[in-house]
């Protein structure tokens, strides 16, 4: 559905209201946003973006992912991307940033872990670093 061209912020969250509100905020600030209702839906976009072997030219600039999702969690998604050699910057949002989640996120090179609901400043400064 979304073509996810470069210069876009990708958001993955299974909660439609959270997804829509994040898109709304980021668009108001001036970013282009692509939303995905699940980790699987995000991964489905890879074919059209080109594989990341030679860098991630066709990919979204950064990814904001909810951790607590059915089937595939935000961390599972991060692991899958890293396994595929994709080093897209990731912001993970989770209701309870337990030590286990934080340390696994660090291993996977997740840039930041924010507790839900995240502060606007933290969100925007993450996106701002890559766009």
């Amino acid at each position: 559905m979304n073509s996810n061209p470069p210069g876009v912020v990708a958001i993955v969250d299974d909660d439609p209201a959270v997804l829509d509100s994040l898109k709304f905020l980021l668009e108001v600030v001036g970013y282009r946003v692509a939303t995905h209702a699940s980790a699987e839906a995000f991964l489905d976009g890879r074919a059209s973006w080109g594989h990341a072997d030679g860098g991630r030219a066709g990919w979204p600039a950064c990814l904001i992912a909810d951790h607590y999702m059915p089937r595939m969690t935000g961390l599972d998604l991060a692991e899958r991307l890293r396994d595929d050699g994709v080093d897209i910057p990731i912001l993970l949002i989770t209701g309870s940033p337990s030590p286990a989640i934080v340390s696994r996120a660090a291993q996977l090179g997740v840039v930041r872990v924010l507790e839900k609901p995240p502060e606007e400043y933290d969100l925007l400064s993450f996106v701002n670093s890559y766009l």
Binding site: V18, D20, S21, L22, F24, L25, G95, P118
Partner: protein, 494 residues
């Protein structure tokens, strides 16, 4: 009469078979009790009379033939024929006929043993066999059976009951069944029975219930009791089938049923999980609201009134969503007031105790005391049972494997409230825990979530009462809480 003859005569009197002696002319010489029952003539009526009195006219020839053969020293075994009762009715019999000889070996008379073959008699025999079958079934059945009479005296105590309670049948027969119950049921049982016999009120009859039993060694256990009544002419018996819930298989089966019945209890156990799931749910609308508001603030600052307005509509939706979630959370712990009704305090405690003690095993002494003026309260029974189960499970866990494990649950009146106390003989509360006892997530258990006591307190407070934990007088811990006392008498339920 010498001893051997005395015995013989006693045997002749006690057998079910008619034993008749007659001389060679067919005159009756002796006539036992069974003969009187079978043919309707008393010994006085028939001794000295010809035996033909009990022979149907068409069989008179047969009798002559028999006498003839016996005179020659022959013996007839299980000869099937018919005889006639005093009232003229015919009775089918099988006869064993032998000659009686004097010291010289001469035949001087005839002994006739007659067995009744009629339906009525056969039914009597069959019922005897059925009784034997029943008793063998009862002996091999895993459920225990205790039969009492209308004075609560034990009339029958099956093999399984012996195993379950540790008493032999001989130790309990004709003793009051209340010996198998802990206080206060022990003292109350006669009253229940008397009330049932006089008013017909049924509190347990025909309904399976979980109650507490007491073994010979004084330990208590949860059991499922089903009581039935047997009306006999002139007597009323009560049968109690008992299933031990501490036995593993049944325990698991029954636990599953109970969880279905009392979903609240499993809710309580899963509360830790529930809290984190709900926190996640509440966080979703909160996160969305924060995003919409931040965006709206920017739009409004830039003069985009319409866009800001739209975003605020979204905020209102998410705020309503959060409210719904919070309401569901509240419903989980605190039901509406309509669920509160007049309940029996002893029954509430008894059922909770039985549930709390499921799986606890042997070696725990339980005492329940409910003062008469604290017998009824206006409560949400399931919620108060949750509190009781929680406090009792805590108590049992605190006592661990200590040698002396005593749990006392008592209730008494304090003003317009009923105070319930759960006292254990455990090590008592550590000082560090005591002051923060009811804060969520404070626990003395390595794996506990620690939300139990704070939920208990919420439930008690929703009943207008208070919950406190303290040192018990003889060491250990006592938790006490209050619930509103019922003032008018409970209407009796038929």
């Amino acid at each position: 009469m010498n001893a051997a003859r005395y015995w013989l005569s006693a045997i002749a009197e006690s057998t079910d078979d008619a034993i008749i002696g007659k001389n060679l002319n067919g005159v009756v010489i002796s006539w036992n009790k069974a003969a009187a029952g079978m043919f309707g003539f008393t010994a006085d009526e028939i001794v000295g009379q010809p035996i033909t009195a009990i022979i149907p006219p068409e069989r008179l020839d047969e009798e002559a033939l028999i006498l003839d053969r016996v005179r020659r020293g022959e013996r007839l075994v299980h000869f099937e024929t018919e005889r006639r009762r005093k009232d003229g009715t015919i009775v089918p019999v099988t006869l064993t006929i032998s000659p009686i000889r004097d010291d010289a070996g001469r035949v001087i008379g005839v002994s006739k043993v007659a067995r009744d073959l009629s339906e009525a008699h056969r039914a009597h025999l069959v019922s005897g066999r059925r009784e034997a079958l029943l008793s063998s079934i009862l002996d091999t059945m895993p459920d225990a059976l205790v039969v009492i009479d209308d004075r609560a005296l034990i009339q029958s105590f099956s093999t399984a009951a012996e195993r379950l309670f540790g008493f032999t049948a001989a130790e309990v027969l004709n003793r009051n069944v209340s010996m198998l119950m802990p206080s206060p049921y022990r003292e109350e049982h006669d009253k229940y029975l008397t009330r049932h016999l006089t008013t017909g009120e049924r509190r347990i009859i025909g309904i399976g219930r979980v109650v507490v039993g007491m073994r010979k060694d004084g330990t208590t256990f949860a059991m499922e009791l089903t009581v039935g009544t047997v009306e006999l002419p002139g007597a009323k018996l009560f049968t109690g089938f008992i299933r031990d819930l501490t036995e593993r298989q049944d325990r698991e089966r029954r636990l599953r049923e109970m969880q279905a019945e009392l979903i609240h209890i499993s809710r309580l156990t899963d509360l830790g999980q529930m809290v984190s799931a709900l926190a996640h749910e509440v966080n979703q609308p909160l996160a969305a609201m924060a995003n919409y508001i931040n965006g709206a603030r920017r739009l409004l600052a830039a003069g985009n009134q319409a866009g800001g307005q739209q975003a605020i509509e979204r905020v209102a939706e998410q705020s309503e969503r959060a409210r719904q979630i919070i309401r569901r959370l509240r419903d989980l712990v605190k039901k509406t007031d309509s669920a509160k009704q007049r309940e029996s305090v002893p029954v509430t405690i008894e059922e909770a105790t039985a549930l709390a003690l499921v799986g606890v095993g042997q070696g725990l002494k339980l005492e329940i005391r409910v003062a008469e003026d604290a017998a009824e309260a206006v409560i949400d029974k399931i919620q108060i049972q949750q509190v009781l189960i929680n406090l009792m499970r805590n108590a049992v866990e605190a006592m661990g494997t200590m040698a002396r494990r005593e749990l006392t649950v008592s209730a008494s009146r304090i003003g317009e409230m009923v105070e319930i106390r759960v006292t254990d003989s455990g090590p008592g509360l550590p000082e560090s825990v005591r002051t923060r006892l009811f804060q969520p997530f404070v626990t003395t258990k390595p794996e506990g979530m620690g939300v139990g006591l704070s939920v208990c307190r919420s439930i008690v407070e929703a009943h207008g009462g208070e919950l406190h934990g303290d040192d018990a007088a003889g060491g250990g811990t006592v938790f006490r809480f209050t619930i509103p006392r019922a003032t008018a008498p409970v209407p009796t339920v038929a």
